[in-house]
């Protein structure tokens, strides 16, 4: 396949395509959110025209209310897909996601399933300031009971969204606003939750990254290749389940690791990845694990400040060079 079923080869439309495909084959799938009929955020654009405004339903500004209702609807037999817009708006519904969706199966001894998908943008897209630039997966991962995917390409977005909708667990699907129009083929080979994508391959150092950071890692790897440093990028597009096997296999091969994260460093996904590598692949390491992440500040508004706190290609390349001792 070159492009998703409708031919979409951009990230946000690939999500919409995945939702549409699931809605066609499963009448239990429906879409809720603010302004989802016009698809203001991208991932729901065009769905109302095909499926009507009952299945693609605009909600009032009531995140706790409609996310909570979606939890109940999922328990009751539907498969709601909620577009929460910016993933930081999920904080308004945090109780519904963490305390309710993520705990229901466990607290009921396995009786209840919450096949809910929450889609939200994550990351800085330029001067959106601290409340619209969050990369929140660490909070959800630590909450427990939630699956999290963060695709960085149309291929990942299409397949992981489909997998999310088919999953019987609550899944949060994040997409980076700066990548909404990112182009790329959608291949025929499905990607499942729990899988990572490796590429480019290399023997000298492993770069672990997600979302926009995966893009930047790939371009940094291209630049480093010209200097004779063979960096391997593992795009950890699924964060729960965490694709440890793929990650550790790469680390065992290269013996060096740089983790890049667009979230604040403290208790970040980067920290989790670094800890896992140190614990399970210590004997294979030839250099200390390095974490490159946002310093512990809210994302600033001014473009220059924003750029200053978010790892870029040059910073990634610099830390990689330091790690390989070049």
């Amino acid at each position: 396949m070159n492009g998703s079923p409708s031919g979409a080869n951009r990230l946000a439309p690939a999500i919409a395509d995945a939702i549409a495909q699931e809605m066609r084959s499963d009448p239990r799938v429906l879409v809720w959110g603010e302004d989802v009929t016009i698809g203001v955020m991208g991932p729901t654009r065009g769905l109302a025209a095909e499926f009507g405004e009952s299945r693609v339903r605009d909600c009032p500004i009531s995140e706790a209310g409609f996310v909570g209702a979606a939890v109940g609807a999922a328990i009751g037999g539907l498969r709601p897909v909620v577009d929460i817009m910016f993933s930081s708006f999920a904080y308004v519904a945090f109780d519904q996601l963490v305390n309710q969706a993520g705990r229901m199966r466990y607290m009921t001894g396995g009786q209840l399933s919450v096949p809910l998908v929450v889609i939200g943008s994550a990351g800085a897209a330029g001067a959106n300031a601290a409340q619209h630039s969050e990369v929140p997966p660490a909070l959800f991962l630590n909450g427990g009971g939630l699956r999290v995917a963060f695709p960085s390409t149309p291929h990942q977005a299409f397949w992981l969204t489909r997998a999310a909708i088919r999953s019987d667990d609550p899944v949060i699907v994040l997409h980076h606003p700066a990548l909404a129009a990112a182009r790329g083929p959608v291949g025929a080979e499905p990607l499942e939750l729990g899988q990572a994508e490796v590429g480019p391959e290399g023997d000298d150092v492993t770069i672990l990254a997600v979302g926009l950071m995966a893009h930047r890692a790939r371009s940094a790897a291209g630049k480093l290749a010209a200097e004779g440093i063979a960096a391997e990028v593992v795009d950890v597009c699924s964060l729960s389940p965490m694709p440890w096997e793929t990650i550790l296999a790469s680390v065992r091969k290269t013996g060096r690791v740089v983790v890049v994260d667009e979230a604040r460093l403290t208790c970040s996904v980067a920290s989790e990845l670094a800890a896992g590598v140190a614990e399970w692949a210590f004997g294979d390491l030839r250099a200390p694990v390095r974490r490159l992440a946002v310093p512990d500040v809210p994302i600033p508004f001014a473009p220059g400040l924003e750029a200053a706190v978010i790892p870029d290609e040059d910073a990634i390349a610099r830390v990689v060079r330091e790690t390989v001792g070049a």
């Binding site: 009531s62 209310g65 109940g72 328990i75 539907l78 699956r147 667990d169």
Partner: protein, 314 residues
């Protein structure tokens, strides 16, 4: 209330209300003797709300309830033994010992669950109602919650959404006149919980929650309306919390109770029924039933520690 409704439901109401009373009483005893893990919030004094509402429901309906929800579950037909086992943290509990008192659930029997988050179950009931509507199951959903919860955002958001989408739902506020240790008057602005329905254009009715007949009549109307596609209603059942907020709060004894106790709902029903000997007979049966359930639950095995890692994901 016509006498025929009382004749039809009265003895069952009395039975379930006594079951609740003994069930909760046995937990109070266990707590007193230091044999309970965790905290329990008892519903003694509120039995009529559970009996009156749940007897208006069908098997395919769902309820969500709160930290104080044993009475709703029993009235919905959950078995005392697996409930007690759950509250004691046993492997044979409804939730395999993973939920405890504040999270007893049995979806199959129409109890989606209780909740430790005040206001947490209200939107969930809306979702269950919408699922029933969408899937055409004919079911409705009831959210039970306290007066304190009616100040949560989820309450207001859910009422708005439910009204907007004409959800087959009934929102039952059990106003026991306290949220923890704060009297309702100090927590709720305006003319009261029922009046909050007006803002969403749905019926809001306050009834005497000690009187199972009054509760049932109001419930029937709201349930029928929901089932017929008429949309949601809010019912405020004014009742009395006889015990404290939770067991073991004697530190606070005498420091906060200002409202006088309301009438005992079991006495009220007994008097209305006027059937000499019925109460004594049911008391003996239910006391025995609860005692046997408790003995079995206490004898049940603890969960295998390995199961602590199960049931996180599908």
């Amino acid at each position: 209330m016509s006498d025929s409704v009382l004749e039809q439901h009265g003895p069952e109401w009395l039975r379930v209300m006594l079951r609740i009373r003994f069930f909760e009483g046995s937990l109070a005893d266990l707590f007193e003797r230091g044999q309970l893990v965790g905290v329990v919030h008892l519903s003694i004094g509120q039995e009529a709300v559970a009996a009156g509402i749940c007897s208006a429901l069908e098997p395919g309906d769902q309820i969500t309830t709160t930290h104080r929800g044993h009475h709703h579950m029993l009235a919905r037909g959950l078995e005392p033994e697996p409930m007690l086992a759950e509250i004691l943290g046993k492997a044979t509990g409804y939730c395999r010992g993973k939920g405890g008192s504040m999270h007893v659930a049995c979806f199959e029997r129409g109890v989606t669950g209780a909740n430790g988050i005040v206001g947490g179950g209200i939107p969930m009931a809306l979702g269950l109602a919408l699922a029933a509507q969408e899937l055409g199951s004919g079911g409705i959903a009831v959210a039970f919650f306290g007066d304190g919860a009616s100040s949560q955002g989820t309450f207001h958001e859910t009422l708005n959404l439910a009204a907007l989408w004409r959800a087959p739902a009934v929102f039952v506020c059990e106003n026991n006149r306290y949220g923890e240790f704060t009297p309702t008057e100090r927590a709720i602005a305006g003319p009261g919980v029922a009046a909050r329905a007006a803002g969403y254009g749905i019926p809001g009715v306050a009834v005497d929650g000690h009187d199972v007949q009054a509760v049932h009549a109001a419930a029937l109307e709201a349930v029928e309306r929901a089932r017929a596609g008429g949309g949601p209603s809010l019912l405020e059942c004014v009742t009395t919390r006889v015990r404290g907020h939770h067991e073991g709060e004697e530190n606070y004894a005498g420091t906060y109770r200002e409202a006088p106790l309301g009438p005992d709902p079991i006495d009220l029903l007994d008097a209305a029924l006027g059937q000499p000997g019925l109460r004594a007979r049911l008391e003996a049966e239910e006391r025995e039933l609860v005692a046997r359930a408790l003995a079995a639950a206490q004898a049940a095995p603890d969960p295998d520690p390995a199961t602590a890692l199960e049931d996180v994901f599908a």
